[in-house]
Symmetry: C2
Subunit: 181 residues, 2 copies
DNA sequence: AGCTACATGTAACGAGTTACATGATTAT
DNA sequence: ATAATCATGTAACTCGTTACATGTAGCT
């Protein structure tokens, strides 16, 4: 249900087309939400049908026309009611850990290299987040409440990637050790 | 796709009924996979159809009969091939962060209490994992490779809950501050 | 008498993924 | 030429959630 609300939250600040939302999600929103282009288009269709958003078609020179969406009063109300409800922690479904559990079926090097590969992915993502932090949040004491909320989600992403890197290091070290048994 | 493989991995050690798998998942597997009872029954049906597992009905005194499943050679092959493929990092979809982004729509106390509630949930889960660690892995140096693999997933769960708790503390502190703007 | 645990399933729906379809512009 | 980016969508399928359906045994 939260993809709809994530879209509403994003449209709360600014009007976006489906394509723009998708790009925004692929970039900054990556630390707390992910959605494919198709999912976004479908969700926009649903939200428009229930009048939580409305659209306007903008012609562009040299480019295809854009259909930009804005949140309605009904949409703001819907989002607000949802914010007031409690949220459940995300369910963990990590393929890599299932593979670690089954690691004895493969050569040791395969799983070690795979963990190393994940370490690199998380290191890369961490540097992206840190770059955003430096660029957009150089002085935390000067942020408004709304900006602090956004910063808190970025800190969550930074914490997550750091934790993943630490775990990869720990796992590599643990599984590399010589084992008598 | 990985629920099927998670079940295969579990059945690799021991035969289980659908009900037993569900309980096992609710407990120890919680740090890397979650599935409902219905999902497990459906997946078992599929796996049996493709002959990756087979079943046996065991009558019990004073209790309903159990249908216990065992992995077949075909199932082991399927699992092994999957382990050799690379795994993508889990997609993050955290409702709480979407709510933090929309926090200005609600009274400040609502979001702070919600983060505090999450902090408690993660603290509780962390203590469960630490209890398992103390009980089952008192001496890491004496573990076999297979046991080390299991231990690595537990360490992943411990790291995750610790990271979540740290973030909740950071977020509460950040959003509680007096803000001039 | 009512709750929890044991035990298996069907049906419907919502969310997420993958493939397909179309067509213009810009950069290499 | 051909690949990438811009731009929107349909269709089919799989995965995850919720509700419904059934029945026994043991505990309070």
């Amino acid at each position: 249900m939260a993809l709809a609300h994530t879209i509403l939250a994003t449209l709360g600040d600014e009007a976006y087309s489906g394509y723009d939302l998708w790009k925004k999600f692929s970039q900054t929103k990556a630390c707390y939400w992910q959605a494919s282009q198709q999912q976004i288009y479908r969700e926009l269709g649903k939200l428009e049908k229930e009048e939580a958003i409305d659209s306007e078609i903008i012609a562009q020179k040299g480019r295809p026309a854009k259909k930009i969406y804005q949140i309605t009063d009904k949409g703001i109300e819907k989002l607000k009611n949802w914010v007031l409800e409690p949220a459940e922690p995300m369910a963990i479904r990590e393929d890599l850990l299932v593979k670690v559990i089954s690691a004895h079926l493969a050569p040791k090097s395969v799983i070690l290299q795979e963990i190393e590969r994940h370490r690199q992915i998380h290191t890369q993502q961490l540097s992206v987040y840190k770059e955003i932090e430096q660029q957009n949040f150089p002085d935390v004491s000067k942020l408004s409440y709304k900006q602090k909320c956004i910063y808190a989600t970025l800190r969550c992403g930074i914490g997550y990637e750091s934790y993943r890197i630490s775990w990869c290091d720990e796992a590599i070290s643990l599984l590399s050790e010589e084992t008598s048994k």
